[in-house]
Symmetry: C2
Amino acid sequence: MHSNKQTLSSLSMFQALDKTEMDKLENISNIQLFSKKSHIIMEGDSRDAVYFIHSGIVKIYTVDVLGNENIIHYLRKDSMFPYSIFFVDDPYPVTAEVVEDAVVSALPIQAFEQLLFENAELAKYIIQILSQRIHLLNNRIREFCANDVNLRIASLLIRLTEEHGIRHRNGILINLQLTHQEVAYMAGTTRESVNRLLNQLKKNKTISIHNRKIMIHQIADLHHFLL
Amino acid sequence: MHSNKQTLSSLSMFQALDKTEMDKLENISNIQLFSKKSHIIMEGDSRDAVYFIHSGIVKIYTVDVLGNENIIHYLRKDSMFPYSIFFVDDPYPVTAEVVEDAVVSALPIQAFEQLLFENAELAKYIIQILSQRIHLLNNRIREFCANDVNLRIASLLIRLTEEHGIRHRNGILINLQLTHQEVAYMAGTTRESVNRLLNQLKKNKTISIHNRKIMIHQIADLHHFLL
């Protein structure tokens, strides 16, 4: 079970807020525990709350008409989701599925919007977060614009080391269990292309794979794809 | 020359603001005229102002290491750019180039941030705009996740009819002069693939091209690609 210490004030994104502001946030929020494979929100459901992650990993995605997952990102502690629901009446634009048991704070969206409206510091905070998210999404579009499939997969692996990497003696571990199909969804390519490149990278000792987690031994080799 | 009528209050995005708020905005803004092919902002320059478009067309893009343009969007009247510069210290993340002579209002970013901070209605407005932008960018990523190149190009054409379409007697004109290379950049594919599909669509009378503008005669044919 999660401890009482897992309050919103422990998240780095709220550390600029003063005690009164934090108390207001705590009063409207409630902490929830979700186990692996459960869905926190579903695309198309009416918007109800915005979530902040204390621990665990949450996969954010949509599903296209062919049933393919469009994985937007994997989120950890200190992340918020969904991003694009403030002051709009649309339903949830994405599905959030738990990949590793997660503790999250749920803030009812209307109460949170009211707080945002009354509190300039909090509004500034959310504007910063949304600005950064737009920057990241632009970078993802830049990745996709690459015609070369290997370049797209290499860019993706580099980004995942930045977002989920843990330094080890002999490399950087991307701390996410990923199937080749999931890598393919994220890079906008086929599982066959992913198999081919990952096998080649394993043969060259650029990467190794342990329990579905990718360890990057020679990140410079990946950067070569981008040149 | 532009008339004095081209004030910020004529933009639909500011129509919810009251007179005091509009006067504050007008006081810090200045109207500028840019001719075709000129650059309003350059990626990497330090951020200085946020821009609102009164008329004309502005292309927003970045350039990758190979010199390829990554076209993020074409913007018209009522749009703001760049999106992701509020309360962050990063340089401009994109280049804005004029495609059709443009009249824009420039708001010095620091003065605008101060106004945002003091004015909840304006902050709410910007949060709405950023939320909508994130929604659009997620949709663009969804487009890119499609493996099939023809499907990506068809999705792009459908989106462009929504953003830039003008209804005609015999179809919808995408009111943008585009080279095949620009279409390829936007769909994340090669010029050859674009040539091939557009020629096929012309042969089938799904589209026709006039003075580098694409007219869609049978939008249902494009939707068939998505099924």
